[in-house]
């Protein structure tokens, strides 16, 4: 009896391998740490895409894509690397949506993805340093580089008539890179940066940091930090001492928890975050709403696109081997150079699989109008946010 069972299982496993299988995809983001308030919707976004591909029944002969979550903590590279290592070696994932923050993502890329040859598509790592990182063609991001965000922020600053700004950043790869790109872009356009100082996350008291910023002065304070961490503390301390009254809020500072925590003092502050007004964004929001999530939450649409790209690239390559399907990612994201590819939006992944099977070229637009440039990063559109009446409101796109 035992032997019979074993034999059955073995045959099932053997035949199963050729037909439908479970393909595991790692969802690696910061469930704890600096962006923990964003992580649930980021994960939900990518899991939505994986579910859509699986439910269509057309993914690689009825195979299913199964998400496996990992916590990269956003801030702790060692913990992030360990989590990714577990995903790759123990869960045997064939691709990773992640990591969350730039420093951790760089560490995971060098220590786990490259040695093991696993494709990583990060929805939220935005450091300019990742543009030039060695990646063996395995690393992509559906989030744009902060170099672009610096440009956008500088333009907005000038439009709002700001001539000088004080700048503070969270002391890590993301903060430093972003602060540099904002400072460079703003000075190039004729603005003055009075101070560009780091702050550490996780302190109880930021009054000393704010005193230094206030001493340097400026029309407004730009805080390139995290909304659940030091960024919040800096803004609170600046309001408490009356040092600054309006704040510039780059991507890491955009989220519902910030206006909730600070209250009326934040009204009139503004910022920008990667996001688009494309047709796909609305479709994505609707789908997320049906699942009880907020589809406008930061980096959630990017996460959907990252997961969908992995799945579609696998289908196009007809292989779940990262070394094979990695070459298809750019092709799927951008379509043929003449723009003849059929545009694919959220909710149309089943159709995309049909088209791929039929050999018709597709151009995956997704929720963020994905176009990958350079070494595989999003060209980048930004949602401009203004805080009004204690809420983040979208006032435009650029």
């Amino acid at each position: 009896m035992k032997k019979l069972l074993l034999a059955t299982v073995a045959t099932a496993a053997l035949t199963g391998a050729g037909l439908a299988e479970e393909v595991k995809i790692g969802v690696l983001t910061g469930f704890t740490g600096g962006i923990e308030s964003l992580a649930p919707t980021i994960a939900a976004g990518s899991e939505l895409a994986l579910k859509e591909l699986s439910d269509s029944g057309k993914f690689m002969g009825g195979s299913t894509l199964v998400p496996v979550r990992g916590d990269d903590t956003c801030g702790d590279s060692a913990a992030g690397t360990a989590a990714a290592e577990r995903l790759v070696t123990s869960d045997q994932v064939k691709g990773i949506v992640g990591g969350s923050c730039s420093g951790v993502t760089g560490a995971v890329l060098q220590n786990v993805a490259r040695p093991n040859g696993v494709v990583m598509i990060s929805p939220s790592a935005t450091s300019p340093a990742l543009t030039t990182a060695e990646d063996d063609g395995l690393f992509f991001r559906t989030a744009p580089s902060d170099a672009r965000e610096g440009e956008v922020m500088a333009e907005l600053l000038l439009e709002k008539g700001m001539k000088s700004i004080a700048l503070t950043y969270t002391n890590n790869d993301y903060g430093k890179g972003l602060a540099e790109s904002i400072a460079n872009a703003f000075t190039a356009k004729g603005g003055t940066v009075t101070i560009n100082a780091a702050h550490e996350d996780g302190k109880a008291d930021y009054s000393a940091e704010v005193a230094a910023l206030a001493s340097a002065g400026g029309d407004m304070l730009v805080v390139a930090g995290y909304l659940d961490q030091g960024g919040k503390g800096i803004i609170q301390a600046a309001l408490d001492t009356g040092a600054f009254s309006t704040f510039g809020l780059p991507g890491g500072m955009i989220g519902d928890s910030l206006p909730q925590a600070i209250g009326a003092g934040l009204d009139g502050s503004w910022g920008q975050i990667a996001g688009s007004d494309s047709q796909g964004a609305a479709m994505f929001e609707e789908q997320m709403k049906a699942n009880g999530f907020d589809g406008t939450s930061a980096y959630s649409p990017e996460a959907y696109d990252a997961a969908a790209l992995i799945g579609l690239a696998m289908a196009a390559a007809n292989s779940t081997d990262p070394k094979v399907y990695k070459d298809k990612v750019m092709e799927i994201a951008n379509g043929p150079a003449d723009g003849s590819g059929e545009k694919i939006y959220p909710g149309e992944l089943g159709k995309a699989l049909d088209l791929i099977a039929a050999g018709t070229p597709i151009d995956f637009e997704g929720a963020t109008a994905v176009t990958l440039i350079g070494p595989g990063e999003s060209a980048g559109r930004y949602r401009v946010i203004e805080v009004k009446g204690g809420k983040n409101e979208t006032v435009g796109f650029r």
Partner: protein, 336 residues
């Protein structure tokens, strides 16, 4: 006008934050010094005693808030504070009964008891994190400002804002009241006098019929009370996070040692010395200097002696200087 602006900037960014921080450190150092003077060991668990008391107070504050009980413009936490003190006192008395009493009876050396307190610290550390978690907890409510910075600017027409937070005012007032009460208690009451006698000469005190268990218990209760008040005031003014309370141990001990371990007056002086050195050495003086000197001499740099990252290094440095040149501290505490 410029001198006025400079003065306001000094008050707003140096004096008021320094005063509030100094009061919080002074209260913390008082507790450390009291334990050292009477029980004769450096209590490393003091920072976490503060965290424990604050945690209980926060939990009760939330209960009061949801029940709609408040103090109007004052933070609700003040209402919860007595209960927090009671819980903390009970907790440290239980710790004393279970841990410290054993070593006291053994006549263990102070160094040994210090290590014991280190163990107690880790246990308390864990308990606090298990109950309330490791995250920031903000529990301040009531009116945020006594002097609102924007209104101050509008009312005076000065370029510089002046802000006094309600929590800062509460901190300073509470510190003055606590210190006054403590000194009155130590100088005037029978129990206070017996505590001082016990601290001066244990054997003589025992011979004159002072009950050591009573002195020890009262010391723990007072230390728990001061620790809880210090912790709650710090949490109200800044935010509550277990890890930062653990970190507070360094400036608190620096304050107690600078003042002279075992000397209550020294603890208060030490608290303010540490707080103002930290604030003044890491402050960027550019703005204030620019107001004071003629325009042509205005500085380009920040005129900042140390980056704010080195705040803790300041307390370390002062500690080392004092130990080298004045081992008993400013107020002649008991030298080890």
């Amino acid at each position: 006008m410029d001198i006025l602006n400079a003065l306001v900037a000094f008050l707003n960014f140096v004096f008021i934050p320094g005063l509030a921080y100094g009061a919080q450190l002074a209260l913390g150092a008082l507790g450390v010094t009291l334990i050292y003077g009477i029980l004769r060991f450096s209590n490393f668990a003091h920072g976490d005693t503060m965290a424990f008391g604050t945690m209980v107070t926060i939990l009760l504050t939330w209960a009061f808030q949801s029940a709609g009980i408040g103090l109007g413009p004052l933070p609700t936490a003040l209402l919860a504070l007595p209960f927090g003190i009671a819980a903390t006192a009970a907790f440290v008395l239980a710790t004393d009964r279970m841990v410290y009493r054993f070593y006291r009876r053994q006549k263990a050396t102070p160094t040994l008891v210090v290590i014991v307190s280190l163990g107690v610290m880790f246990v308390m550390n864990g308990i606090v994190r298990l109950i309330i978690g490791v995250e920031d907890q903000n529990f301040a409510d009531g009116a945020r400002f006594l002097i609102n910075p924007q209104e101050f600017k509008a009312a005076t027409g000065l370029a510089e804002p002046l802000a006094i937070k309600t929590t800062q005012a509460v901190t300073v007032v509470a510190a003055v009241v606590v210190v006054a009460l403590l000194f009155w208690f130590l100088q005037k009451t029978r129990t206070g006098k017996s505590m001082r006698a016990f601290s001066d000469n244990e054997d003589l005190a025992l011979l004159s019929g002072i009950n050591p268990d009573r002195v020890v218990a009262v010391t723990w209760i007072i230390a728990a009370g001061i620790a809880t008040i210090a912790g709650v005031l710090y949490g109200l003014d800044k935010t509550f996070k277990p890890f930062t309370y653990f970190q507070l141990l360094l400036p608190i001990f620096a304050a107690a040692i600078v003042g002279g371990l075992g000397s209550p007056l020294g603890a208060i002086a030490g608290g303010f010395v540490i707080a103002f050195s930290e604030v003044m050495l890491t402050n960027a003086w550019k703005k204030i200097v620019t107001y004071l000197v003629p325009e042509s001499m205005a500085p380009d740099g920040l005129v900042q002696l140390l980056s704010t990252d080195y705040k803790f290094a300041v307390s370390f440095t002062i500690l080392i200087i004092v130990l080298l040149f004045m081992p008993t501290g400013l107020f002649k505490g008991k030298s080890l």
